[in-house]
């Protein structure tokens, strides 16, 4: 990032949320890089950027799409890079229809299910080229369903030979499709949809394009401002397309950087506590994958390009790590021990199950959903249906005390003595009281040594769950029930210290994996390429293999940064294989030479016949630039010398995603679930494939043009402050942080304050179709009314750190209570960056009157569970009808 010549921070408030990461931006800026912040609000990031471009929340695809259009129509794309490293020249099949043709829909949408059939998005195969391995490309129905079943490599494509047109003139090349798709994403459209002036757009477009190419690179940084939308994954895709066109991927100072909010949030997706993934982005098996072979076929074809082709070795090694000897050839390596999924079982589905009394027990470890999750009321009511709840945290967070001091107690919806839920509060250990590794946002694992013992009853999760597992296994020891075999056969024996704390390094060693047989038996694996599908290796998370190479905990490597080069490979360990920049083969031209001296990073050394440079090459190290693979080869061997995107099944960067995204191969602008603005591009208002949950307790506001939309005329957007941490469990209990931001507030423009009679620093009540909260009013020019689609558009900023409870140093209403649950279909992240609301001066009513106020608004707006939940609002509307998600 410090190497970038232009940094566009969009959908992230980087200086506020990642102040220490921002040092690299400061440094780049000091060296002359341009920093542009695109955000609904003028934040502390804007204050130190060269320019702030205010944007309407949720309209990012229009802006990025317009940049793509600008780049293409002004011939500013990096031609050699795009031709060599992306799928621009590949032809897409004849059946494909774009949103431009279908007024907001791609071909293949099924209004009955609300889902796309992806088969028409496939590449055009060369006539006569048969998909090897019997793996039918494209039409494979199992690949059609939701994206939650794919790992990072996306779905398998096999390795057929696709039609290509290197002149890019064929109308069905990806490039031409892209060009047509974004043709209407003009600066004027940006003005209309985003509220960005033509001058600001021009500034941004010039900055980005003038700072891209051989000599220069531009970096995009995003955070939850992009992901927390019904379009979240597509926002990121749009930026990636733009960056591919500009040649900014895989090169120093380029890229699309995710800025993640938690110490190990990267780690918790790598080794996921997520329903749809196994460690290393292997998918959780689905019900229809009855055999291991079916499962493996669903991940990757062994003949496709790149490292996903070896998914069988990763899977078998994982199963060996978990079930040891019970995982053998006869037991399909224990595949049948794995539970199956048959639909989304994400946290929001779980809460709805709770409300149906389908869930008995709930563990919360270091999480405060009563404050931090969307629709806090639903979360708390859900918990009141539980039989038991285990809360493991440092202090008595709101999720542990809602039964006695939560908002529903105050409103009379719940009575403490009526709540049957048993609650266990178990004190947790802090980060210095346990040893372990965090994976930070750039995939680096860093080991923390234990400094002191946890006080009192405090325990690490490691100790608690190890102990819990031991007891569960002991209680089942005599069981002959076949269902208990997975627990009984589990490898669950870790060395403990004198205090009973399991040795984290032993767990890390298991994650890294080891040779089980052969001359090297017992030795840790040093690379995932050593994994085998024959049971001779184990490894709990293939992408982490190498972290414990040679029996050394490389996450604990601590050679001081100043004693190393800028890449600092001897500090911590970065997956995969300690590579700092992914796809860094793209930092050299097809011939293996650096694109420019200024931006050299990895290059081909013809004398040694190796890739070399400042980083670990993310490429077969001896694959020469000109190499053409054996046509029959698969996996890494199938990579050509100029296929830098080694995890994609064709080795190329995807401008057009024939697979993997369930809501469109190209990002398209749709309005948020709730929007007072009509989609200016298509009659289709919202993302047709979004996941909706029409329920009386999850109402949505009417969108533009629908009756009642004027009842909730404003848009709120939630965000974080430097001084607090998410739901506040680690900040609102600390006086030093609490005093810096003591009270819940909302940020409004002077114009909105005047319109609604809001007094500076007085109170305001904000009402959404779900709830109403109160906040102090910060009237500030940092929030600007935007002129969007010919009307003045007001946004209200709400930090979401506060919650109602009695134990914290500071408390206040929770912004997340306002949110409803509508999810991105690719990753099931909720939409919390834009919602409709009204704002009035004064504090909110207390007691039951609060519910009456919310109900009065709902009545006035005429909202019903169906409101806003029509999948189709445009072309297919006559045939489309409300869909209920039946999972």
């Amino acid at each position: 990032m410090a190497n970038a010549d232009c940094i566009v921070i969009q959908g992230s408030n980087m200086a506020e949320c990642h102040p220490v990461g921002y040092q690299w931006v400061t440094e780049a800026k000091a060296r002359g890089a341009k920093v542009i912040h695109v955000d609904p609000r003028f934040t502390r990031t804007s204050a130190v950027a060269d320019k702030h471009v205010p944007i309407r929340a949720g309209s990012d695809v229009v802006l990025l799409g317009a940049l793509i259009n600008y780049v293409i129509s002004n011939e500013l794309w990096f031609k050699e890079y795009v031709l060599a490293y992306t799928n621009a020249s590949t032809l897409v099949g004849e059946d494909f229809r774009d949103t431009e043709d279908l007024d907001g829909l791609f071909s293949g949408f099924d209004p009955e299910t609300g889902q796309y059939d992806l088969s028409s998005w496939a590449y055009e195969r060369k006539s006569g080229a048969e998909a090897p391995g019997g793996h039918e490309h494209g039409a494979d129905t199992s690949a059609r369903a939701a994206g939650h079943q794919y790992g990072s490599g996306g779905p398998p494509l096999g390795n057929p030979k696709f039609e290509q047109d290197p002149t890019l003139e064929h109308p069905r090349t990806v490039f031409q499709i892209l060009k047509r798709h974004y043709a209407r994403y003009t600066p004027e459209m940006v003005g209309e949809a985003c509220g960005i002036s033509p001058e600001d757009f021009d500034y941004l477009a010039r900055a980005v394009t003038e700072n891209s190419g051989r000599d220069r690179t531009t970096c995009f940084a995003y955070a939850v401002g992009w992901t927390q939308h019904t379009l979240g994954a597509q926002f990121i895709r749009t930026a990636a397309i733009l960056q591919l066109l500009l040649g900014n991927i895989g090169r120093p100072g380029g890229g699309v950087m995710a800025l993640r909010g938690h110490a190990s949030i990267q780690g918790s997706t790598d080794i996921p506590t997520l329903f749809n993934l196994l460690p290393g982005y292997l998918p959780m098996p689905k019900a229809e994958m009855e055999t291991l072979q079916q499962y493996l076929d669903g991940i990757a074809s062994p003949t496709q390009k790149g490292y996903w082709a070896a998914a069988d070795t990763y899977t078998v090694s994982l199963l060996k790590a978990w079930w040891g000897d019970a995982a053998n050839e006869d037991s399909e390596w224990g595949y049948q021990y794995l539970p199956r999924i048959n639909g989304p079982h994400g946290t929001y589905e779980t809460v709805m199950s709770m409300l149906n009394d389908d869930v008995e027990g709930y563990f919360l470890f270091g999480q405060n959903p009563a404050v931090g999750s969307a629709h806090g009321r639903m979360q708390r009511l859900g918990m009141s249906h539980l039989k038991w709840l285990v809360v493991r945290d440092l202090s008595l967070i709101e999720s542990a005390t809602w039964w006695k001091d939560g908002p529903e107690i105050a409103s009379g919806e719940l009575k403490t003595e009526d709540i049957a839920t048993e609650v266990f509060f178990m004190p947790a250990a802090t980060h210095v009281e346990k040893a372990g590794s965090f994976t930070q946002t750039q995939r680096m694992l860093q080991w923390r040594h234990q400094a002191v013992r946890p006080p009192g009853d405090c325990q690490s999760e490691l100790e608690f769950f190890y102990e819990l597992g031991k007891r569960i296994r002991a209680k089942l020891a005599d069981s002959s029930d076949e269902r208990d075999r997975p627990l009984l056969d589990l490898t669950w024996d870790y060395p403990v210290d004198e205090h009973g704390e399991p040795d984290g390094e032993a767990v890390l060693a298991e994650i890294n994996g080891r040779h089980l047989t052969g001359p090297q038996a017992g030795r840790p694996l040093s690379s995932y390429t050593e994994m085998r599908a024959d049971g001779s290796t184990s490894g709990g998370c293939w992408i982490y293999t190498g972290v414990y190479a040679d029996g050394i905990n490389h996450a604990a490597d601590r050679k001081p940064g100043r004693e190393q080069g800028p890449v600092a490979p001897e500090w911590g360990w970065v997956w995969p294989a300690n590579r700092r920049i992914l796809y860094n083969r793209a930092s050299a031209d097809p011939d293996g030479k650096p694109w420019s001296e200024r931006k050299k990073y990895i290059w081909w050394d013809p004398e040694q016949s190796r890739w070399t440079g400042e980083d670990v090459p993310d490429f077969p190290v001896d694959r020469a630039p000109g190499t053409t693979p054996n046509p029959g080869a698969g996996g890494a061997a199938a990579l050509a010398g100029d296929d830098p995107f080694i995890m994609q099944s064709d080795g190329k960067g995807w401008l057009f995603a024939p697979k993997g995204m369930v809501d469109g191969p190209l990002p398209t602008h749709y309005e948020p679930q709730e929007s007072p603005i009509a989609n200016p591009l298509y009659r289709q208002q919202q993302n047709p494939a979004r996941l909706t949950y029409p329920r009386a307790d999850n109402l949505s506001a009417p969108s533009a043009g629908e009756p009642g939309s004027e009842v909730y005329p404003y848009v709120f957007t939630t965000y974080r402050l430097t001084e607090h941490h998410t739901a506040g469990g680690m900040s609102r209990w600390l006086p030093y942080l609490s005093e810096l931001q003591p009270e819940m507030f909302c940020e409004v423009s002077p114009e909105l304050a005047a319109e609604r009679g809001l007094e500076p620093y007085g109170w305001a009540t904000i009402i959404s179709p779900r709830s109403a909260i109160e906040a102090r009013v910060l009237v500030t020019e940092r929030v600007k009314p935007l002129n969007v689609s010919g009307r003045t558009f007001h946004q209200i900023g709400l930090p979401y750190h506060w919650g109602i409870g009695q134990d914290a140093v500071v408390s206040g209403d929770a912004a997340n209570d306002l949110l409803g649950v509508t999810l991105d279909p690719n990753v099931q992240i909720q939409e919390s960056k834009a919602g409709s609301c009204d704002i009035v001066p004064g504090r909110r009513p207390r007691g039951a009157a609060l519910l009456s106020l919310i109900a009065e608004y709902q009545t006035r707006a005429g909202v019903t569970p169906e409101t806003g939940n029509q999948k189709l609002t445009g072309p297919g509307r006559a045939t489309g009808h409300e869909t209920k998600e039946e999972y």
Partner: protein, 360 residues
């Protein structure tokens, strides 16, 4: 502000609360948006109307000390005068007054410390740059003299019944020199407190630095004289009456000179609110006491009433000055405007080397 039917269920708006002068006067966003009721003048900018300099944590005990220190100093002078001019009653009463005043004054001073138990640290060092340090030494020296002379008086009054033993002879012998010694430190004791206040960044006190010592010694004189007019029969109190008249005259002149020499903005707090009223009443009482001393003081009651008026005048002067200074830290205008004006004036005069703000 009614917005819905549910207003009655809303909690009452709590009274607006203020933190350390932090929240008053929403001078917001740089301060010159016209939201500042107090300081409408253009060109004045502050940080949310917050003070630039801080008030010292000095409460009423300090004002009491300023007053009593002055009374003690003046009394010691009257005492030594009586001693030297053969006026034993005036001498005795003044010595006792000095002791009582300095005793209570010192107690008030200690009372106001953040760590009273560490009051002896005042004598830890001799700091020429610290009026408080010098004052402590002056006070100590003064107290020694006053103590010896007054104890001797007390002993005499009680018929030599204090258990002094052989020390009595020593005491009697030292009594005279001690009275003189106290008198040497009396005027400095009365004057140094003015430097103590002025040798600060406090806008009003510092602006008054040229003439505040004159106000304070005058106030000390008239107060001590007033006290003597109460305690001492009119016949013996003539020097006190003369001192009272001189003190009143001195204070009237010094106060006017002081205000004339002060920056007009920094002088404003002397006329505002409570401190302004105090100082106005101080002047009235001083004039009344002076007139009483001049014309009616042979009458014991009038003399006593005049004395009370004079004491009151002095006390009000001290409280008024102290509080005016503290008040002047409340509003950043009193700090910023005079500074901006003097900076601009220097620049106009071609003096441009001494600004804290520089462009290179």
């Amino acid at each position: 502000m009614t917005v819905s039917d549910f207003d009655e269920y809303r909690p009452p708006e709590p009274p607006r609360w203020r933190k350390r002068g932090g929240k008053r006067r929403r001078a917001g966003m740089g301060g010159d948006r016209g939201e500042v009721p107090m300081v409408p003048e253009a060109g004045f900018t502050s940080y949310y109307g917050r003070p630039v300099v801080k008030p010292p944590p000095w409460g009423d005990p300090i004002a009491v000390y300023l007053f009593l220190g002055g009374v003690a100093g003046g009394s010691a002078l009257l005492g030594v005068g009586g001693q030297l001019t053969g006026n034993p009653i005036l001498c005795r009463n003044s010595r006792l007054a000095a002791l009582a005043a300095v005793g209570m004054g010192a107690a008030a001073l200690v009372e106001d410390l953040g760590r009273p138990e560490r009051f002896l640290n005042m004598l830890r060092t001799i700091k020429l740059t610290s009026p408080m340090s010098l004052g402590s030494w002056i006070l100590t020296a003064f107290s020694a003299g006053v103590g010896v002379s007054a104890v001797s008086e007390i002993d005499r009054m009680t018929g030599s019944r204090l258990p002094l033993g052989p020390l009595r002879r020593l005491l009697r012998g030292l009594e005279g020199p001690a009275g003189v010694e106290a008198a040497v430190f009396a005027a400095p004791l009365s004057a140094y407190t003015a430097v103590l206040l002025s040798d600060t960044a406090n806008p009003t006190w510092n602006a008054a630095r040229e003439d505040l010592p004159f106000v304070f010694v005058s106030s000390a004189s008239l107060a001590a004289a007033g006290l003597a007019m109460i305690t001492t029969p009119a016949k013996e109190a003539a020097p006190a009456r003369a001192l009272a008249v001189l003190g009143v005259a001195g204070e009237l002149i010094a106060t006017r000179r002081m205000e004339k020499n002060m920056d007009p903005v920094a002088a404003e707090p002397l006329h505002l609110d409570g401190p302004g009223r105090m100082l106005a009443w101080s002047e009235r009482l001083a004039v009344a006491g002076g007139v009483g001393a001049l014309f009616g003081a042979r009458h014991r009651l009038i003399a006593a009433l005049s004395g009370v008026a004079l004491l009151g005048a002095s006390a009000l002067t001290r409280f008024g000055i102290l509080r005016a200074g503290i008040r002047s830290t409340d509003d950043p205008r009193y700090t910023i405007e005079p500074q901006k004006n003097r900076l601009a004036a220097r620049r106009r005069a071609g003096v441009i080397h001494d600004s804290i703000t520089t462009a290179e």
